[in-house]
Symmetry: C2
Subunit: 364 residues, 2 copies
């Protein structure tokens, strides 16, 4: 008898379709035999990490043999000062995805349920499924979260509600009025987890300052990442801000050395380099205008985005994605999101945006 | 009403006592107001990473803003060639602890049980508990695994058996005869997970080559790490070797970017630097002899170890640990292992070993 070790695994894991990450440039070029590609597929900061970050990472490399500080003392102190919260309110993770998994692991079980919006960041749904947790997916309104619908969906078994703000991959956001309504309406024992991976890019005045709600709402958890504006995606570092009680629980659920030392050191340097962040925001604003004007000239519909990416209706996303690949331009088709008409493009430098627009024009 | 968000968490997580890592030197020195300490508490390679590793890590820092290759193509190719297995047999993780967690998450559930030895690496038990999985802890024989006892403990609900070889923190090992007996006796549907974090240090001829059993035993999973002899503890990288079916499942359970890019690049460089590994083994052999002779001169009992550490009976471990701290020598007391008489000391350089021995002599 041959035993199938896939079928000995838990259903929740075996039935998963793994998340399809944006392809690395090297892999695309290897497959297609091309070179000089640009990747606008993963919402990375086109300016890269700041010089101070690179230096901090390189210095840390000499201590590669020493285990990380399991308590992340320096990182938590630096983050707490930056955010004006207490170090005891912070949980660190191997990317914010790790934090999101800790929340699922610590607060959900198969007899509880969780609520998320249609088109919300797919990794969250994958994580929930991987633990076999029931999930209510609330249909979106105009590609964004239907806050009232999410509130209505809460029942006696709901333990966690996820809000992605702004949402990836749609670029839509929940404004302060709706966020206040959400916090006022959710029963106090239900966790509201707000993923703010792109919040540092936001300039809209009605984008909610979720941090300001923490004192009043101990059921609020905010997750953030160093992968986007801070330019540390390669290093894997995310964090949560919450009440100390929730942070205590999440810290029990995590591996003792879940954050590597180079990420910690680089993050501390990144938080201090205000000029790089300011510049990154400016480049993103200019690039968004450039892309929007280009798309309007092509008479293409796109979803209005407040992030560092734009999601565009190109009719046949899989087809356009492939054709762009051969032009050496890597974007993200959104088939996995049941958005077969849409590609998502990261806002790049002026030169990258120009190349994307001309390649898109060529393949349309 | 005040809601306690600790009590809304799952019992399995809330009831955990977090793993107590070895304290970072900076933290110890900050607390005690001392300096020039040495850390022999976490079984790190005292020679550090090789120069080639540092260079690879530093080059990778320039690409800090680019997401890791989610498939770890280059790393898996390099590892597969090094191990003479297929890339499809490899699962990569944020340290081998991450791999161990993937196994628990993917193959265990609350109606199954798992088997582990008394005194086995504590993180595994913590992981199992964090998922609420029943565990049978089999009493040790002479601080080592009782293989026959572990075999007898298998019942209809057993899904995974963990073997730590050599075991941390005792330094004991399961020899090839016992390992063969184990593989022959375990029902074919029960996973045998062999954690080999220290295997690269081993020179004993009767230490089993678990890799050679893989073809015959598709229920075997071997976990290894770059944190020990390769000197990459700060970077977090571990891996599993298994049948492709099990690797497929573990890959579904993992986060898409669980391994950071710097660790991947550094690991590829580390695998190629054979001279550094050879040198690390030699320094460890010489250091072990130095420490053993010193301990014998002090008439102290220690557990014979084949790893890069020695566990010593000092009568009152907590007391000796504290006194050594004030001497600027950081070791690991094994109170968490219910070994209140023992400290574990990492085998260091000749100078570090000399300092440890003289400090130990002073505080005894």
């Amino acid at each position: 008898m041959t035993i199938d070790f896939r079928f000995l695994a838990n259903d929740s894991v075996r039935s998963l379709t793994p998340y399809q990450p944006g392809k690395p440039i090297e892999e695309v070029e290897r497959e297609l035999g091309i070179h000089s590609s640009i990747k606008l597929a993963s919402n990375e900061n086109p300016l890269g990490p700041s010089a101070a970050v690179v230096q901090a990472a390189q210095e840390a490399a000499y201590q590669a043999h020493i285990y990380p500080d399991g308590n992340c003392y320096e990182l938590k102190q630096t983050l707490a000062a930056f955010l004006n919260v207490q170090p005891s309110q912070i949980t660190v993770g191997n990317g914010s995805e790790n934090i999101l998994e800790l929340i699922v692991k610590a607060y959900l079980h198969t007899n509880a349920n969780t609520i998320i919006s249609e088109y919300a960041f797919l990794t969250i749904s994958l994580l929930i499924h991987s633990y076999g947790i029931p999930v209510k997916v609330i249909p979106s309104i105009d590609w964004g979260h239907d806050i009232r619908g999410m509130i209505r969906a809460i029942d006696d078994k709901t333990k966690v509600l996820f809000l992605v703000n702004p949402n990836n991959p749609t670029g839509t956001y929940t404004n302060d009025d709706d966020f206040r309504l959400l916090m006022e309406s959710v029963p106090p024992h239900v966790l509201v987890v707000v993923d703010e991976a792109y919040s540092e890019y936001i300039t809209q005045p009605d984008y909610p300052h979720a941090l300001d709600y923490l004192n009043q709402y101990p059921n609020l958890v905010i997750t953030r990442t160093f992968s986007k504006i801070y330019g540390l995606a390669a290093l894997r570092l995310g964090y949560a801000i919450s009440s100390p009680d929730i942070a205590d629980i999440l810290n029990r659920a995590r591996l003792p050395f879940n954050v590597n030392s180079i990420a910690s050191k680089a993050a501390c340097a990144a938080l201090k380099d205000h000029a790089h962040i300011k510049n990154s925001i400016a480049v993103n604003q200019i690039g968004k205008k450039q892309l929007e004007e280009g798309l309007q000239a092509f008479k293409l519909n796109y979803i209005s985005s407040i992030g560092n990416f734009i999601t565009i209706d190109v009719n046949h996303a899989a087809d356009i994605y492939q054709k762009l690949l051969y032009q050496g331009v890597i974007v993200r088709p959104l088939t996995a999101y049941q958005m077969p008409r849409h590609i998502r493009v990261t806002i790049g430098t002026e030169a990258q945006n120009t190349r994307f627009l001309s390649s898109l024009h060529a393949v349309l």
